[in-house]
């Protein structure tokens, strides 16, 4: 893969040129956290962020959108969430997240709502530095060699830019004189040093290779019930997970001759109605069963299909779940350790 160099002072001029082609989206501040947002003032872009509150899936399949509208005459496909976007600042784990969604939405019956948005979105990745909640090294998603158009590694006074696709190359060609094709030995040394130090910076490690067997062996372990009792069934873990893709469908009607709409809404297998069929039979009435499904999917099922977990180590569940049910605590419990999670502190019953 071709690697070129971009001096920091040329970064905004580069954005200036490419943002005329499509909407530029990048991480910006929201409170003391970050979100992907439409950016016109490049100074809003946050270059040194950890995870955004929501992963970039929100731009491809938004939390709630119309799939089609209908009236007495028939249906009208609605693709209004699709627009040309350049998404800058995606970290390797989130690019892996998109690759995981690609496998689902582009496999077998391809999903036009995802695919059309994906095709119109250019991915400009950005290197990052782990905090205490990142464990992308354990999922091998801290490095990335596919799934982006350009990838920027930030080496303080300059970027090294990996050119990952023909469209990425087109972007460079819009302002070729900003980029240097030849890298000096010291540039290369800088990168190697950066990478070594970055790899050492991961403080959370999880042995994912052991998880599929442990999920099977610990299927009946009591901690599932305990975690289930602590679970708020709030769905937050799924909303923030880059690889959670489940959705619900809802028809809405309107008055005054306006068309009805069929909506798609983000859903979660931890929510009460997830496995309930008409008539009231609920195949996963207990929260413990729903949590186990969530972790079966992350740690076991995807492994048997694709040889790797569908967790990308972004740490969002660690920072989001208010009651500490997350990939770190569950994997510890699976390994037979006491993760000192909230559920161990929850009294078994509030008695008079």
């Amino acid at each position: 893969m071709r690697i070129v160099k971009l001096k920091k002072e040329y970064f905004h001029p580069f954005l200036d040129v490419i943002s005329r082609q499509a909407e530029l989206w990048a991480p910006v501040k929201k409170g003391d956290k970050h979100i992907f947002d439409r950016v016109e003032d490049f100074n809003r872009i946050e270059m040194k962020t950890t995870r955004t509150l929501l992963p970039p899936k929100k731009l491809l399949v938004p939390p709630a959108f119309n799939t089609f509208t209908f009236n007495a005459e028939g249906y009208q496909e609605d693709l209004s969430h699709v627009s040309s976007k350049i998404l800058f600042g995606i970290h390797p784990c989130d690019i892996h997240g998109l690759l995981t969604l690609d496998k689902l939405f582009m496999h077998e019956y391809t999903d036009p709502y995802y695919v059309k948005a994906r095709q119109k979105t250019l991915i400009l990745g950005l290197s990052c530095w782990p905090d205490e909640y990142c464990f992308a090294k354990s999922t091998r998603t801290h490095i990335i060699d596919e799934g982006f158009d350009l990838f920027f590694t930030d080496l303080e006074d300059f970027f090294l830019v990996w050119v990952g696709s023909s469209q990425g190359d087109d972007l460079l060609r819009m302002k070729p004189d900003l980029f240097e094709e030849t890298l000096s030995d010291s540039d290369i040394q800088r990168y190697i040093r950066w990478q070594t130090e970055r790899d050492k910076a991961y403080r959370t490690e999880i042995n994912f290779m052991a998880m599929p067997d442990l999920m099977e062996l610990k299927y009946k372990a009591p901690f599932w019930e305990e975690a289930g009792r602590a679970c708020l069934a709030c769905g937050s873990c799924s909303m923030v997970c880059p690889t959670c893709n489940c959705y619900n469908v809802l028809d809405k009607l309107a008055l005054g001759g306006k068309p009805g709409r069929r909506l798609r809404l983000w859903d979660s297998c931890t929510l009460v109605e997830y496995s309930e069929v008409a008539g009231g039979e609920n195949f996963r009435e207990h929260k413990a069963d729903r949590l186990r499904l969530w972790y079966t999917h992350k740690l076991q099922a995807y492994v048997s299909k694709y040889g790797k977990p569908s967790c990308v180590g972004c740490g969002r569940c660690l920072v989001t779940c208010p009651v500490e049910i997350n990939v770190r605590t569950i994997s510890k419990a699976l390994e037979g350790e006491d993760p000192k999670a909230f559920w161990y502190r929850l009294p078994s019953e509030v008695k008079p």
Binding site: T67, F68, F70, G74, Y75, E77, L104, F105, H107, E108, Y109, T110, D111, P112, Y113, Y219, N245, C246, Y247, N248, V249, L250, D251, L253, G260, R262, D267, C269, Y274, S275, E276, V277, A278, G279, E281, F283, R284, D289, L293, T296, H297, Q300, A301, Y302, S304, K305
Partner: protein, 286 residues
């Protein structure tokens, strides 16, 4: 996966195709029969299905839900469904009259392995509304009678008035080329001439079963499976020749929405027909 062999839909797989209710009438107090025809002839021809597959039916405004096909593919043109009133989509369907428009997309799911079943004996065990998918496979076997060995049917319902297609099955009893036993849990009419008892009480009435050569099919209420499977195992029918079709919540039918996930499979893509080995192999199936 078998994705490559599956018929791919052109365009947007989530858009339902307009169809018309040709006939509808009540089968029991809360189950209705629906006969449906696509408006577009090309769509009708493109809708090639196997017994055990299902379709997503939309009543726009009420929603969309999966329903297994009750008609056999050997009688093309019209699609038939037996539907119990249970939620908002079925409630809306029940309110519709003949000639009303609905939306249909599919067919989805794996269906019964008809090719492997050819030449074998077929033992069909039905409980209540389980008749919906099994009617498709039974009529298919009868329409292609020479392709199958012995065909036997055991059918149980709660009471005579809840035996769906009762007349059809009484007529089957008169046919010389299959064995058919009927039972009701309780006879509240006083005029029931067949067996009284749960469906498993019909097994001793079966004439000799050649287990190695038999495909045993079952569909019914969740509580029934355990008991019927035990009977199949008692008959020494191989685990991978015991087939059942399952119900799950589904919002897409094409492996995207996630609701029908069990372990690493999706009921909509890898099911709804599963073998007894699948059940032993994967938790949570039944």
């Amino acid at each position: 996966m078998n994705g490559e062999t599956r018929c791919r839909e052109e365009g947007n797989p989530f858009l339902p195709h307009p169809a018309r209710i040709v006939r509808t009438y009540p089968l029991t107090q809360d189950v209705k029969f629906f006969q449906i025809r696509f408006l577009n002839m090309d769509q009708a021809l493109a809708f090639k299905y196997k017994p055990g597959q299902f379709a997503m039916i939309s009543v726009l405004g009420a929603g969309e839900a999966p329903f297994c096909l009750s008609s056999p593919p050997s009688r093309p043109g019209l699609l038939e469904f037996c539907i119990r009133k249970a939620g908002s989509v079925t409630g809306a369907l029940f309110d519709l009259k003949e000639n009303a428009m609905i939306g249909v997309r599919g067919p989805y799911g794996n269906g019964f392995p008809i090719e492997q079943m050819a030449g074998r004996d077929i033992l069909i065990t039905i409980g209540g509304l389980g008749v919906a998918p099994l009617r498709s496979v039974l009529l298919y076997c009868l329409d292609n009678r020479d392709q199958f060995g012995k065909v036997s049917v055991l059918y149980g319902a709660k009471k005579p008035s809840e035996m769906i297609f009762r007349e059809e099955y009484f007529a089957l009893k008169e046919r010389g080329d299959l064995e058919c036993h009927l039972a009701v849990d309780a006879d509240d009419t006083g005029s029931w001439t067949e067996n009284v008892g749960v469906v498993t009480t019909l097994f001793p009435k079966l004439s000799k079963v050649n287990p190695e050569n038999t495909y045993a099919l079952v569909c019914g209420p969740p509580v029934m499976y355990k008991f019927v499977l035990r009977e199949f195992v008692k008959l020494s029918i191989p685990k991978n020749q015991i087939l059942m079709t399952l119900e799950r919540r589904m919002k897409c039918g094409v492996g995207k929405c996630g609701h029908c996930a069990i372990d690493y499979i999706y009921t909509c893509l890898d099911g709804p027909v599963f073998t007894y080995w699948d059940v032993l192999h994967m938790r949570e199936l039944i």
